[in-house]
Symmetry: C3
Subunit: 161 residues, 3 copies
């Protein structure tokens, strides 16, 4: 990242990563999921309650490409039995901090799940806290923390959020 | 469309059309609906499953202004009996292809329905696949395909999505 | 506001206010809520039905900083007994009118509520009608009207929308 990169272009680049990630999942391209992260990386799902108490508890934690790919494989097997679709909606992305070669950003989200029998429900709501590596137009998640509003979470979160 | 039109201004113009369309429906201005399309046109509602199998099945299909206006008339009659409101939320719009005098774009959406008795539910989720004619600041849908995540659809979709 | 301020920069400034307001509420910073308004101000919750009939009925009405702060205090007391979280999603903001030192803007929204037991539901949908004071990069609500799609509203709306 050029030190002269404008705040606006940083926001546009970070937002495109965040939006592309959601489309990849929603459009069923789960195998592309790991490619959104650096290696090593941090992908973590936690709850608002844990986060507020600064508890390190995680519902899910992956810290390398290998772990992300393991997860993809598990999902692809699981999906044979119980297919369902996600649809993410994103709030505006806010840049919280500029960092060397990147930004820390916050993005509210909700996720609607559609089951094969047609049942639809709001499955998850919360916010992403992201540390994003920006290299020119290319962005990757160094760290993505999914902070769920609910503390009662389906223990089996098949598809990544 | 000037061949030198920037990608960014194309996206802004396309997004305004997509957003205005949603507001027209959500604000109850159904009679304005046909004016968002060219004539002839294509307005089609299908399911993700049909689309993935490249099946030409449609839940709804209109290919001219006349058909769109017939639809409006039917809705205005139907609404006398069972009024309800829609509220669309849109994901970021992505330009998939630049075309002569326009773009192909993709936009995730969800739609919440509020019934007169106050019941609210997520009524539909999916994505729009649009072929948009861009003429300066004016845009129109040459073709809009609504691809629903659910295969179990209310057979009576009164208001257009 | 400089009379030469571009329509685009006005929209960006207004949108930031509207987005920041939603994040303040969703992130639990209710005590910051009054600071988004001028003094005097107007904060009003009404229904689509009332608005269409031009009825002045309000579900909630505050017209000064003092009233907003009273509301915050009531919420903070109430939350001891029944905590829950909101998550707002916003449609694109549309500028309806440029005014002296500001704009009138419209923004569709929906709000998901998560209860402590994990129950999640779409709690409210509708649109904001805002009269926004723009002073350089600083924006404040002179007036915010929350127009709910539903006429059947929880009489106890604890957290502001």
């Amino acid at each position: 990242m050029d030190m002269t990169t404008s705040a606006e272009s940083l926001l546009v680049a970070a937002r495109r990563l965040i939006s592309d990630y959601a489309y990849a999942i929603d459009n069923g391209e789960i195998s592309r999921w790991p490619a959104f992260f650096t290696d090593p990386c941090s992908y973590r799902i936690t709850t608002r309650e844990n986060e507020a108490m600064q508890m390190p508890l995680s519902i899910m934690l992956c810290d390398s490409q290998a772990m992300l790919y393991d997860r993809v494989e598990a999902i692809e097997r699981a999906n044979i039995f119980e297919p369902h679709y996600y649809r993410h909606m994103l709030a505006d992305t806010r840049i919280l901090k500029r960092r060397p070669r990147g930004v820390t950003a916050e993005t509210g989200f909700l996720c609607v799940r559609t089951m094969l029998d047609g049942a639809m429900n709001v499955f998850a709501a919360g916010r992403y806290l992201d540390d994003i590596l920006v290299q020119g137009d290319d962005c990757l998640f160094r760290s993505r923390t999914v902070i769920l509003d609910s503390s009662q979470v389906d223990t089996l979160i098949a598809i990544p959020l």
